[in-house]
């Protein structure tokens, strides 16, 4: 088939328009949030003392970390899914969430006596944390990988990893409402492990599933 002939066929197919990528991403994030919420409320749900907890700095700081991660990952994955889009600024902003966590850890180490560090780090339910963040995040991750397939990422493995970070940020936001361990020492350790798992899974998905 000559290129001229191919153009004739493409031109005849011009009328069929798919949903623009930017709009599709918002839709995907909306659906992902509904799925994550459904899994969360059907399984562990929020902690019973959530109302008084909301007046404590440590409890609220968890949402600052996880939402910062989700928002920055969302901006980056949008750019990564569209060829030729500049990713430099969105990439630089990915440092924000880890930076906030490091800052909080340093503050925590100043405020809390050394004898309590270990207790705060281990917390009361790290196994629940490490299993429920991936469990809540797996549905959103599948949706985001599907979106990458719908898009055109020229760096599929990186884009897949960022899909994992976005799913992890989202899942951790829900999980944080359940978890009694509010110390940044706990969050910096176990949330990171759980989100890293989703990130690795996303990178694998990007490698083997995101082909275009």
């Amino acid at each position: 088939m000559r290129t001229e002939d191919l153009i004739k066929a493409l031109d005849a197919d011009a009328r069929d328009e798919a949903m623009p990528m930017g709009k599709a991403w918002w839709l995907a994030v909306g659906v992902a949030m509904v799925i994550a919420a459904a899994v969360f409320f059907a399984t562990i749900g929020p902690r019973p003392d959530i109302m008084p907890a909301m007046h404590t700095m440590r409890f609220m700081s968890k949402f600052v970390f996880t939402l910062t991660l989700a928002v920055s990952a969302f901006a980056l994955i949008r750019a990564l899914s569209m060829p030729g889009a500049s990713t430099r600024r969105a990439m630089a902003r990915m440092i924000a969430a880890p930076l906030l966590v490091v800052l909080a850890v340093v503050l925590e180490l100043f405020v809390v006596p050394e004898a309590d560090w270990g207790k705060r780090l281990i917390g009361s339910n790290m196994m629940i944390c490490m299993s429920f963040i991936p469990l809540i995040g797996i549905g959103p991750l599948a949706i985001f990988l599907g979106m990458l397939r719908y898009g055109a990422p020229t760096r599929p493995v990186l884009a897949g990893a960022v899909a994992g970070l976005l799913a992890g940020g989202l899942a951790a936001t829900f999980y944080a409402a359940h978890c009694f361990d509010d110390s940044p020492l706990f969050v910096a350790t176990w949330y990171t492990v759980a989100i890293a798992f989703l990130t690795a899974l996303g990178a694998l998905g990007g490698r083997f599933f995101v082909r275009w």
């Binding site: 088939m1 290129t3 002939d5 191919l6 153009i7 004739k8 066929a9 493409l10 031109d11 005849a12 197919d13 011009a14 009328r15 069929d16 328009e17 798919a18 949903m19 623009p20 990528m21 930017g22 599709a24 899914s81 569209m82 060829p83 030729g84 889009a85 898009g151 055109a152 020229t154 082909r211 275009w212």
Partner: protein, 180 residues
Amino acid sequence: MTGKDEAELSRLLRAAIAGDERAYADFLHGIAALVRGFVRRKIVQGGVDPEDVVQETLLAIHVKRHTWRPDAPVLPWVYAIARFKLIDAFRRRGRRIEVEIDEIAETFAEPETETVSERDINRALDGLPPSQRSVVSLISVDGQSIGETAAKLGISETAVRVSLHRGLAAIAKRFGRTAT
């Protein structure tokens, strides 16, 4: 990559998205010429047919045109896709050459079989279900319109459009992967 190309091509693609079919054909011709130049500059040694990469890039641009933001410049988008498809073609060639070297080492097969190269797109076209294949080849190779194709095959114009759309999407997905 000149400013004139950029302004003209993004205007054409914007018009095409708004429903101007003439503009879309002009856009694709312009892109084909630019990508052909780009690919020929990049492929210095043999093994990859530049026109295969041009066709694969055009298909990708077509099925992924929703990844272009109408307020963004069009050429960085086009070249990012072309570069991605070029690297993909090199990667495939690398794999194929390994296979051929193994075969030669084992059987001393005649070397001329290596150079037999059909257009990748024909292989992808041959892999389609018969109904899609006849629609795609009537419209492309034979240059028939949607209406003429519908009359010839005795199906509705909508069915022709659906077959064409699915056929092109399938070709874009299988391009170069039907080989070996």
